[in-house]
Symmetry: D2
Subunit: 375 residues, 4 copies
Amino acid sequence: MLNFTTAGESHGKCLVVIVTGFPAGVHLDESDINADLKRRQGGYGRGGRMQIESDKVCILSGTRKNITIGSPICLQIENKDYKIDILPDVTRPRPGHADLPGIIKFGNRDARNILERASARETAARVAAGALTKILLAKFDINVLGYVKSIGGVNSKKTIKNPDEIFRNRNKSKVYCLDKLAESKMIEKIKKARKEGDSLGGVIEIVAFGVPPGLGSHAQWNLRLDGILAGALMSIQGIKGVEIGLGFDFSKKFGSQVHDEIFYCEDKGSFGRVTNNAGGIEGGITNGEVVIARAAMKPIPTLMKPLRSVDIITKKPESASTERSDVCAVPAVSVVGESVMAFEIARCFMEKFGGDSIGEVTRNYEGYLGQIRVI
Amino acid sequence: MLNFTTAGESHGKCLVVIVTGFPAGVHLDESDINADLKRRQGGYGRGGRMQIESDKVCILSGTRKNITIGSPICLQIENKDYKIDILPDVTRPRPGHADLPGIIKFGNRDARNILERASARETAARVAAGALTKILLAKFDINVLGYVKSIGGVNSKKTIKNPDEIFRNRNKSKVYCLDKLAESKMIEKIKKARKEGDSLGGVIEIVAFGVPPGLGSHAQWNLRLDGILAGALMSIQGIKGVEIGLGFDFSKKFGSQVHDEIFYCEDKGSFGRVTNNAGGIEGGITNGEVVIARAAMKPIPTLMKPLRSVDIITKKPESASTERSDVCAVPAVSVVGESVMAFEIARCFMEKFGGDSIGEVTRNYEGYLGQIRVI
Amino acid sequence: MLNFTTAGESHGKCLVVIVTGFPAGVHLDESDINADLKRRQGGYGRGGRMQIESDKVCILSGTRKNITIGSPICLQIENKDYKIDILPDVTRPRPGHADLPGIIKFGNRDARNILERASARETAARVAAGALTKILLAKFDINVLGYVKSIGGVNSKKTIKNPDEIFRNRNKSKVYCLDKLAESKMIEKIKKARKEGDSLGGVIEIVAFGVPPGLGSHAQWNLRLDGILAGALMSIQGIKGVEIGLGFDFSKKFGSQVHDEIFYCEDKGSFGRVTNNAGGIEGGITNGEVVIARAAMKPIPTLMKPLRSVDIITKKPESASTERSDVCAVPAVSVVGESVMAFEIARCFMEKFGGDSIGEVTRNYEGYLGQIRVI
Amino acid sequence: MLNFTTAGESHGKCLVVIVTGFPAGVHLDESDINADLKRRQGGYGRGGRMQIESDKVCILSGTRKNITIGSPICLQIENKDYKIDILPDVTRPRPGHADLPGIIKFGNRDARNILERASARETAARVAAGALTKILLAKFDINVLGYVKSIGGVNSKKTIKNPDEIFRNRNKSKVYCLDKLAESKMIEKIKKARKEGDSLGGVIEIVAFGVPPGLGSHAQWNLRLDGILAGALMSIQGIKGVEIGLGFDFSKKFGSQVHDEIFYCEDKGSFGRVTNNAGGIEGGITNGEVVIARAAMKPIPTLMKPLRSVDIITKKPESASTERSDVCAVPAVSVVGESVMAFEIARCFMEKFGGDSIGEVTRNYEGYLGQIRVI
């Protein structure tokens, strides 16, 4: 089964991810992975760390002459800022971070031992794994794109239905949103937050084009694709809310207003919809429409104007510790969200279609497309 | 590891769930499980099926003289309305259900084969499993409660902090909400929907009291409790959005406004918070505050005034099929949400504390509570 | 993924198994499953319990009109001898059983709570699950057969290469061995053991015909088919040794004597071997030859002439408790071994070929067979 | 849960293993790991590769100041002989290796793509992971030791019951056996095989001292420790047979001769045995006696005097390809067997006792030891 495990601390030697179950015969271009790593590091609102690091992936295993051979793929991203052993203890836990629950859980008195792994730096490894699966999905014309919908309450209302246009607009934007007007307001808001030693969250949206109907399953609760995507997105550092399609707005409407009626298109020889409130998933299974998810990020909990905390040792009130940090990482999180969603879609894809080599996967997939056409 | 697998169709012989990894030595009272099953069947807005069924659990294995013995616990709920083999084919898929994606996935032309398992009737098995874990959690004074926050846009704004009061208010309410005023408006709205052959969704909230700090882990993405809870909640039939604590509202605020500052309470000898915007989870780990999650349910997709669809065989436009259904199942879903959240908290609890018998689990847990006190 | 979970105690209400990931569209004939259940109950050397039980499977879920629909398949086998709640405590643990380690593990003083689940009665559920997968494998002309090689040191030396002949010979034998001469000697030995209140073990062999090359994987340790089969076989109650192909005899030979040289058969257009010392698996992957495994069973630990033990309560020396038991269950275990091996081969088969319906699995499989032919 | 995943090819950049679920607070000494890596590389009978490599572990993550912090531990072993991209294709598959089944499975025509991962070089990563868990187990006085029982039919009959003596004798032996006399005969046999371009297998034995009763479980087939150990051992490259305790010899005896009678030792206040034919496991659960397993290794399939094979491209008969290889790797495999057995025992240990930090694990463990004493 396609799967991944990450390792590595924020100021450790490196981040590592092992991806298992990736089919043989796929040409891997490191530059594809590096492009996503770079995008994760960018976006208006990042702090000083991102000027130190310039993430590049090193493929440690799983390929020969740049072609995958079916063995586990190990990707490594070095930390230029490796100094975990000499960094000072952190005894004033930062509200909103794993600091306090972590030291309680592990029974020690130094939150450094927690925050080094809890840090969102780990998401670089997830982005690398996601980039791998985007290379795979691209072979089947599946295209997963993440972008920013809002920052600190400033909303981008623009909706674009064409993936190439989404790609272009997003990549032109300093905050990875699709909407020039919103972009400048978002930047203003981030500037304000920075000036005040404060931080901001926002909302990201991820869309997946070209996903065939039939991924995920209604047959057991933990096979439903909506649950799988929600679990993956909510597990990203800072994410506190997830929705599919209309999401929470579903709860306010009548059924007759929201369900996507079914039509048959004789030209294409397939069923289709005019609306897509379901966000491409019904009953935990993709229905052939664009898969749409959104996730809400809380403001970065590390504040230059720190919140009240307590010293673990003395138990006296103190300002929370400050680590070098971002003011707003919502653009970065849109890359992480894209990555984890790509991974989970690829996982379900591989589970349905099986196959050890790209040739076998492709043959199985095309057989299925043929089956769909004659339903 | 504590785990469960369900089986059973809506009009099959029965629903079954096997729960593995449940500790030995726990007295199981079927009436506790039956109370939750009954609550799942109730709530204003349910349809005719619930008058046929009167769910009772039968413990098929895992106990001797009503005490668990460490073997898998198999729970069975019979379907009075068993007729799967004689029910007619369904060829006009209902928008919003698994009907269409399911028949495409499985390559057949009868959505009956899909909807029988995709049906929310399956949640009876999840409620039974959740009720089991509530019995376990109660031994550690952990209390998980679900209730309704809104139906069709009618919001209950009442906030209650006391679990017993939540329990009482909720159980007195026909729609399982905490707020008498909202209740009557919700019922009005449901009546309106029923009259019009329509359906309604809503929002549920689940709160877990008494959860110790340190459940879940920041160490790997799929161990983070927020991701685990989101995955479990989003996997419930009809759920399209999930949030923890402030959820989507986090995205609009400054960091200084939302993170829960840390204080030290000398009397209790423990760290604490005044606010709980994080919903009890920071960095994927419980922090000792009340765990709070909300989930948004879409309106039931089966409408008495059916939506447009297509006949699978003829490819001609037709009204969608109608199955006997509810107008609003948000109260029922609050029970399901409570159940799955209880299960996942119990799973993380057992993973942290280990132990084969309730005595061993308790000893380990109490040792940990002692450890916390002297941090 | 194809998987199964069992529940149920020896004298509980029933045994239950849930099989997940079984493809849709397969006609299930209960009589196929019942035939294996009956075979498991038979074989010369069984005790009194098998005269009480006459196992019949009841399909509780997963089918409609006897055809699988992709949902979990729940199989139930009722215990006629249901009396777990009234059976007496067992305080004199039987050497060789889980009795003593179980009560220590679970911290109680009544081995009844352990032995009810540890009992080999549980294997009836595994046989049912295995029989399901044999129905699936038969669609791809894969045929898994278990039989007895030796009992109490009496060896059957007959080797048969034709599956139909194996099937016939075995089914004619009272001890499920292929060899008339050995059969009568085995029966003599069992009679002797019974007369002396003693018990016997033996060796079973399981062969799988028609398994395609390419199941299992060298890519990660826990994907290797030999490891998977060894784990499954050793997990059967009473099994203490497992070997593949030549097994332990490999350790005594030179490499030049034992590895199966490779030839190319122009007629068949495929690679092949003259010998099969590897037992059909090289590098953890099937090579297209017959898969061959053997497993050694220890003598039944419940003796009518009981061994020395200690009373858990008094700590005084006592004879071990006696439960109604068999003298020799090696024939029965050959059925269980066949079942678990069928299940694991089917699991790897489904993992490689994917697919939700039998049509999709078949299309993928046939595509692979075509790929092999043109290598 | 304690788990591991390996990556890396024989002539790739490096081998990598990520170990998850390892408790915090354990001091890691690289030299402990390196000692096992070195031992794996040694033993009379190894070939030229081992003169090139001198394996040293690099801890890439999971520690701070040499203490584990609860995050995943990533261990890397560099390959000095990194040249995977320039090594020639292998088109004459070697009988006994994954070469032929691998290329069929993956649909390519170059066995290099298979053998690079299938190679036993991968076991260096498993030894590193096992060494980690040996450090953990040592904190609980659990000591796992592997040694050689036979090579090419030359048996060491010496039995030693004292772990320190086993350690000393084994470490003095060039073939890691306990018996000076057998050692010299084994070396003779290896010399003979080398001279003839042949290879040899053998049998290893692994014993685990100090394992508490109660690890593993009878409650579900895949939790039984004997199955888990057999799966792990059989998954080692070259292993074709596994047995626990008396193993296959059980099959020849009467029950009265082989089961380990139970006694109560008032001095120690615990139950015990005089014999240990069960090899420390009854009903899938450890019983407090020494855990004993043996595994049979086939002769190395790469022969300097190559076997007959076929060229994949031309389909003409050819001698099998020759890779640089060992004559006998049984001593090395005894280290691998020790490592995987240590890992699996540690996995079950952590599952039973839970805990995030070594302090918590220890407290839970000691609580259990107290519970046992008063049974």
